[in-house]
Symmetry: C2
Subunit: 205 residues, 2 copies
Amino acid sequence: MRVTDVRGKRAGGRRPGVSGTREAILAAAQRGFAEHGYLATTIRGVAAAAGVDPALVLQFFGSKDGLFDAALRADPPTRDLAALLDDGGVADLGERLTRRYLELWEGRDTGPRLLAVVRGASASPSASAMVSAFMADAVMLPLARAVGTGQAELRANLTGAHLLGVATARYVLRVEPLASLDRERVVAILAPLVQHHLTGDLAGS
Amino acid sequence: MRVTDVRGKRAGGRRPGVSGTREAILAAAQRGFAEHGYLATTIRGVAAAAGVDPALVLQFFGSKDGLFDAALRADPPTRDLAALLDDGGVADLGERLTRRYLELWEGRDTGPRLLAVVRGASASPSASAMVSAFMADAVMLPLARAVGTGQAELRANLTGAHLLGVATARYVLRVEPLASLDRERVVAILAPLVQHHLTGDLAGS
């Protein structure tokens, strides 16, 4: 996508192609949702920031919800999580998933953005449901499927609910002593439980 | 407190005493927060519903945050949870806590109120932090202390974060298949993990 942008600049003011325009809208939407939250971000504002007509945003993404969903899916942190599949074996997947998840929340760039998305989304039931559906469909479910222990959907639900609950307590509500605990200590505590969600016996079923 | 109300009525229109007035304000606040959420509930509105002067609400509770905190603490569902201490031994505390917690979320009266409080509170960081602090201080912490396995505060954090994450996924966001799973199945899945939070080895510390 960067190639398209560069080409556009080289051509000296020529309008970027369809994929460049879509990328520009997505980038403006990601900034808007992260900085102002779901409710305060508008199709009109995103269009203005991307330098396009609001009608074009609707043509590409259908609605504000569609734009939010696309912005989530294109977000590098969440793509990173799903890529854990390719990094190693199942034996320590719980540990790697937990560590990577916490690292994203503590990253200098990714942390504030996750916080803003979760805070912004919590003000809107539809955005909250989309964040949750996204985490399940795009991140947890592929991981749970790859593990191959069956009931991937339920395992993805249990993993996502547990990690999001801990992240909310530690990073959003800043509950002590959990909020100040060393990250590797949190990984050590949670990893066996996350591993259990992914590979353990789900109560005799 | 009910005694005071009854006595007030028996006396035929005589103004209730201090404790009756405080109770009336609290009851109005609980209805207000549950039905309209934290942000839309005002000191003025609660005072009007309780038939008292707004200044009196402030005199009793100091601020809207103080009123919200008092309303949470006086709420029967949350008092119920803390009373689990007295119901039985430590061996199956994880199971009893998990079952009672889910029952409250599924109760005909308590479920909609919990949903309204969590949804209303999520729109306000200060109210969210108070709900979380309340669950930790008034419910999870006494349970973790009574277990006597050490690090009660951290155990309370981990238990509260896990249960709230699951409740959010199951009851607020209605993530499937978790949302439609039989309650006893969810209890069977979560109970060993909650028991581990309360009594297990916290990663070698």
